[in-house]
Amino acid sequence: MTAQLSEAELIEIKAVSKKLRREILMMIHNAKSGHPGGSLSAVDILNVLFTKCMECCPNGNKDSDYKNRDRFVLSKGHASATLYAVLAHCGYFDENELMTFRKLGSRLQGHPSKKMLNCIEVSTGSLGQGLSIACGMALGLRLDKIDSKIYVYMGDGEIEEGSVWEAVMNASSRKLNNIIAFIDRNKLQIDGSTEDIKSLGNVKVKFEAFDWNAVEIDGHDEQQIFDAIQTAKQSDRPFVIIANTIKGKGVSFMENQAGWHGKAPNDEELQKALEELK
């Protein structure tokens, strides 16, 4: 039995998620480019993870001397707006910087860049690589007897990449139980439904067949997210949380629309979206 989030915590988490969604949309609108659909589907999980579950750096910076920090790898790097908004919320940098997103000279690159922004653990953006990176981190931390977790956030379309399954096998054959992976199962990719393009079928069963522990949750239910992470932390093998989500979650006209994968809202659409997120 895991701890319950209190009523007050739930209210606070929901308020933060709304704020993050507003910021994400304003960032993408301001940049006139970005990925609203898959950014919005990731908000609730990243919020709960960073504010309630991860051992982050005490001073807000990724202090490389603070080796016991949990690591986070945004394998679906195109959800960068969500990561930046969460990092700013947690105090890694000033929220005013969010509006530089995707602009020339900004630290907030279109896809996360380690060289540009110190609190990013590793650059991502090319799909299919995050889980392998996590395996390397897991091995390195194990050698140093550091007992922290590596969280990897993947898209569901992303697992069409064969390299993901190379890493899935690597993680289970070495029993890397310090890896906790998320699959953002919003069932849409750029060109349409994941099931039409390259049917993923039962993702949970597939991971279990590779000797992972797996749970399937509602990726917008804060308590379920929290519970799944607590369970994952106790796992004796790598753990995957398959989070059923809604692409574009929180904005009625973006929800479940593949067309909002990589399109910025115009002025009118932004206002309408912000009204819904009041």
């Binding site: 653990e121 590793v122 690589q129 390397g136 390195g140 064969g162 070495r174």
Partner: protein
């Protein structure tokens, strides 16, 4: 007189094990080729710091990247065609873009892979690796230089690609040789032509220069173990002196050492450059020496070719 020959691969494996004894942060990864790449020497001594990821080169490179993120110094080995080819995008987007401290020591490069044929003969790896920002590219010419290059890579902070052939090669450098990654090596002074080479073809060029000398051609030999960053001054100064440059390499003439030399000379000293290498074609099966000769890279073939080019 029979020359002493040494395996560059074995020297690599031995050097890794030596480094592993003094630096606990050194870890080694392979993709099911540890006997061929000789990382097995390290694996046998340090099983806890050796990771065989199986036949999965993409996973190999990105796992190494993750290890580097935790402060480890990963040395990664597989055949050059898979390291630079299949895993190129992992190297670009994860290792080099994040500027991670990963050392890629790719073996079985060039035409001299031999009997396995074209599928396994990497003739494009230097081209692929040197076009990526933050990547350093080293092509050693004998076992001693391989050893020094590997030791240098362990000390250097950043991504390094070291190209190692399958073949055993004659000893060229003695124990006093010190490797300096910023400097090319002038092997022989000359005035008629600059022969610029590296890796397996250095010994062939040295022998060809002797034959050329007998025919009245005084060739200068410049060995360029580090293709990137390339030693501009040594190459430009030699070209200014001889006014004629010929490059020789066990690699495609597109994108390798010959191209790198043309790039700097066209901007700094536009003399005539001829590139000798594999002429935009795949290789084939055969033994290493036969192949080297078939593709015109042995001393006797080079001698004839160079005489022809200079006429």
């Amino acid at each position: 007189m029979k020359r002493e020959e040494k395996s560059l691969r074995k020297e690599y494996g031995k050097t890794l094990a030596e480094l592993g004894r003094v630096n606990k942060n050194i870890v080694v990864l392979d993709a099911d080729l540890s006997c061929s790449t000789q990382t097995k020497i390290f694996a046998d001594e340090f099983p806890d710091r050796f990771f065989n990821v199986g036949i999965a080169e993409q996973d190999l490179m990105t796992t190494a990247a993750g290890l580097a993120c935790t402060g480890k110094i990963p040395f990664v080995s597989t055949f050059a065609v898979f390291a630079a080819g299949r895993a190129w995008e992992q190297i670009r987007n994860t290792i080099c873009y994040s500027d991670l401290n990963v050392k890629i020591c790719a073996t079985h490069a060039g035409i001299t892979v031999g009997e396995d044929g074209a599928s396994h003969q990497a003739l494009e790896d230097i081209s692929l690796m040197r076009s990526i920002p933050n990547m350093l590219v080293i092509v050693p010419a004998d076992a001693k230089e391989t050893r020094e290059a590997v030791k240098f890579a362990a000390e250097y902070s950043g991504a390094v690609y070291i190209r190692i052939p399958r073949t055993n090669l004659p000893v060229i450098f003695d124990d006093n040789y010190s490797f300096d990654y910023l400097n090319a090596v002038k092997i022989k002074e000359g005035s008629d032509v600059s022969l610029i080479t590296n890796g397996e073809t250095l010994i062939e060029v040295i022998d060809a220069a002797e034959e050329l000398h007998k025919k009245g051609i005084n060739a200068e030999i410049i060995h360029v173990p580090v293709v990137k960053p390339i030693d501009l001054n040594t190459i430009v100064n030699s070209a200014k002196k001889t006014n004629r440059v010929i490059t020789v390499e066990n690699h495609s003439v597109i994108g390798g050492l010959g191209s790198a030399v043309c790039e700097i000379l066209s901007e700094n000293c536009p003399v005539k450059v001829s590139r000798i290498g594999i002429n935009d074609t795949f290789g084939q099966s055969g033994n290493a020496k036969q192949l080297l000769s078939f593709y015109g890279l042995t001393a006797d073939r080079l001698t004839d070719k160079i005489i022809g080019l200079l006429q």
